[in-house]
Assembly symmetry: D2
Homo-oligomer: 136 residues x 4
């Protein structure tokens, strides 16, 4: 049983699909990023503002299992939870197709924080990890 | 020592960079895909034509280690080699920054072939795996 | 007074913004396309299905006036109406920033229909033009 | 006879093509932007550096005539020349398919310069307009 704490809906747009007629693989990564940033925004943390303060969360590693291709017009929902492992923030993010709840992708994203060019910490992010309100 | 058999150059374009001033993480996946397709093209295999014949190579899993962010104006080269593991074609693809040969990302892409909607085989791809001319 | 008959909301995503910190100019065209396709979908016309039937609406000309740059986190709404001029379907599409209703872009998109490779007609689209329910 | 002063080659990438099997309309705008930035770079002007100095060239208006759709694997070349009209820098940019030199798009891009948030001037850009070496 997954312990998701945030979710973000998407509708697949035709321009995001490629000549195979399915959502291009790279676009899922866009969805994952937008979901993380909306998660931060839901906690009043602006990714753009962090950058202006010299704080840059960076993806250090990503792995994605592609299960079911999404197609033009499909709606989907990206759900996430996050854990801290050493200096890393590990986001577990899964995308489900709306309607039949079929899993589209399962992803794990390891992020680190770069502060003024060096690996560092971010108190705002640390507080997020302790937030355990499960949405589903 | 890596046994690369194909390489493809890229110049980072400004529109591919995001508000952090670096190449957006998802764009690396575009580079990886284009390199694989150019590799196929170098063997006279057209990804678009395969699709028209009902043969669709699909990414089943991808993992990327992000090492050094690329920036506007950077040039880079994506090198690859490929191995067959069961029904999977496993592409090892690394992107290096030109100039200092610093590693930007290391990626592993597991692909399968879907023929008319079912997992299948593709003779043209099988021949590629046996090609071992090492470019670097 | 504009006679809009359809509108589609968007939230600017960070990955759509470029190193100037604003929504990249090309992304507005993505928004315009998605709005037209959602307009068709609202009339039970699937752009993907049209293509499978050999009917391809194509943009012949586009002009966009950029008025106010959108930024990370901005929400906006794209409103449209459409007129027929000879064989062309002319979409007038304007994007407004939500909150202050400031105009972001004004666009005109001239589309034609290609049927099996030749300029042609599309009854479904002709019916749309006669639909004059104004939403704002 | 066009008086082009710069040109930039592109190879259409599969991920840039959409479900119609052609280069997505918005991607041409990416090509146009990259060509302008490479033109600046050829004169030792970095778009990214200009931004850091508070100088932001912005597109005020764009119009594109779509003539021939480009397809996966096509190569093309974007040629440009530029004129000054009042405070505007007007770029005329045309993309030709390589091989048969068929025109793909004809575009006109009106740019202005924003300096620290206000319409302004940019000496480096003014010098470009006086450069009239015709490449084709």
């Amino acid at each position: 049983m997954e312990k998701y704490i945030f979710e973000q809906k998407f509708k697949v747009r035709d321009y995001e699909c490629d000549i195979q007629g399915v959502l291009n693989n790279a676009v899922y990564q866009n969805y994952l990023e937008h979901t993380r940033h909306e998660f931060l925004a839901s906690k009043n943390i602006s990714f753009a503002d962090l950058h202006l303060k010299g704080i840059d969360p960076m993806v250090a590693r990503i792995s994605i299992d592609y299960k079911t291709p999404l197609r033009p017009g499909d709606c989907c929902i990206c759900r996430l939870y996050v854990q801290k492992e050493g200096i890393k923030y590990v986001f577990f993010q899964d995308i489900y197709r709306l309607g039949d709840e079929k899993i589209a992708i399962k992803a794990r994203v390891d992020a680190v924080v770069v502060v003024n060019g060096k690996l560092g910490f971010c108190d705002e992010l640390d507080e997020l990890v302790n937030d355990t309100k499960i949405v589903k």
